[in-house]
Symmetry: C2
Subunit: 223 residues, 2 copies
């Protein structure tokens, strides 16, 4: 159940911004520091809670623990050591070919989790099907699904920063090699982004650089 | 300057998760409640701080205040009243045709904001140019830029939830009509998502529905 009132515990503006300012793309992780299990579970839950179009959740998040796999992935990530040094590594993948079956599956989940009768969910199911069965020829369904994964990436990085955890989003990898190493094609998944998570090394000079952002007037316009 | 230590003020797991659970796609906003200016400014700052590939920030966020524009946008948003009822409305747009000029512009910003000499930024500028000048023929640069905007969308929704503010991400709009109404083509921008922000109406029944998410075992895999 979701509360209708603003929870009294909501977080102050200064605290939210302090964590977002503290965040940076960590170039060097402390390989000796591991994220406590309870904190990691919270971060996984933040992924599970990520919003997506229609609620379809067209994704899978792979947490790579196997050290040998991590080494193989580092080799196809321009040898960036974060892939092996960070406490955890998440590979964000998109589910390919989202279609009517996904609408039906999600409708089943709504029925089960909200304890509803199928007919109560039928209008929503038909709305999803109406969209997915009538995509324009030019519509890139995998591109659309990929954008949803990036919502999860944004929520994940913001949540990690809130929790005092460092991340390094990596698009500059060989995604096809990730797919091969992780056996993703057979699962209908495709790699989008690799994300080491952990604690910055005390010697990471990048942590001391000013964050470079365009001035507010350039990126926000009031009309 | 960014601190190298975890800030001692980082936020607890229960608090982060409570806010993400509290969030939902708000169907009905309270039209009488306005977000205080200081809170809104913090939310805009969370947008400005959003990470993006190479740091290129290929976006512009339009805050639509003009009531007549809001009405026009509602008409091309399946008449969803959130567009006019919510305290604020943000239109997330992507900058089209990102290329070498953007790399040069960002390099200039690094030089200015980190007080560096051009030669210190030259390797990074060349790395960006090496990528942007050698995109594979099949590479969809606007799709890539759009994904960056979705990171900002994810960070924005998570930050809003942290601050106790409601949002309703809307992809189900007529983006081409948004572009026309807001005159975006001449600015090289394209609408991706419309986002009313404010406070849920006390009578929004959707606020009381369970959030439907697939079980952890389905969306996270440890390997």
């Amino acid at each position: 159940m979701t509360s209708t009132a603003n929870p009294s515990i909501h977080i102050g503006t200064e605290q939210v911004l302090a964590q977002l300012r503290w965040r940076y793309a960590t170039k060097r992780f402390d390989p000796t520091r591991k994220i406590p299990a309870a904190t990691w579970q919270a971060l996984e839950e933040s992924l599970r809670l990520a919003p997506s179009s229609f609620g379809l959740q067209p994704w899978k998040f792979l947490v790579v623990e196997n050290p040998d796999l991590r080494k193989q992935l580092m080799a196809v990530s321009w040898n960036q050591a974060q892939v092996v040094d960070a406490s955890h590594l998440v590979v964000f993948t998109v589910k390919k070919g989202v279609g009517p079956a996904d609408a039906n599956k999600f409708a089943e989940a709504i029925i089960a989790q909200r304890n509803l009768k199928p007919e109560q969910v039928e209008p929503y199911r038909q709305m999803m099907l109406g969209f997915l069965n009538n995509l324009p020829a030019c519509f890139d369904v995998d591109g659309w699904s990929a954008r949803q994964v990036y919502i999860a990436i944004g929520q994940f990085m913001a949540s990690a920063a809130a929790l005092g955890l460092d991340t390094c989003p990596m698009e500059g990898i060989d995604p096809a090699a990730y797919d091969r190493i992780l056996g993703l094609e057979a699962k209908g998944l495709q790699t989008l982004c690799s994300m080491p998570v952990g604690y910055r090394h005390v010697d990471d000079a990048y942590a001391r650089l000013a964050k470079v952002r365009y001035p507010m007037a350039e990126i926000v316009e009031h009309i």
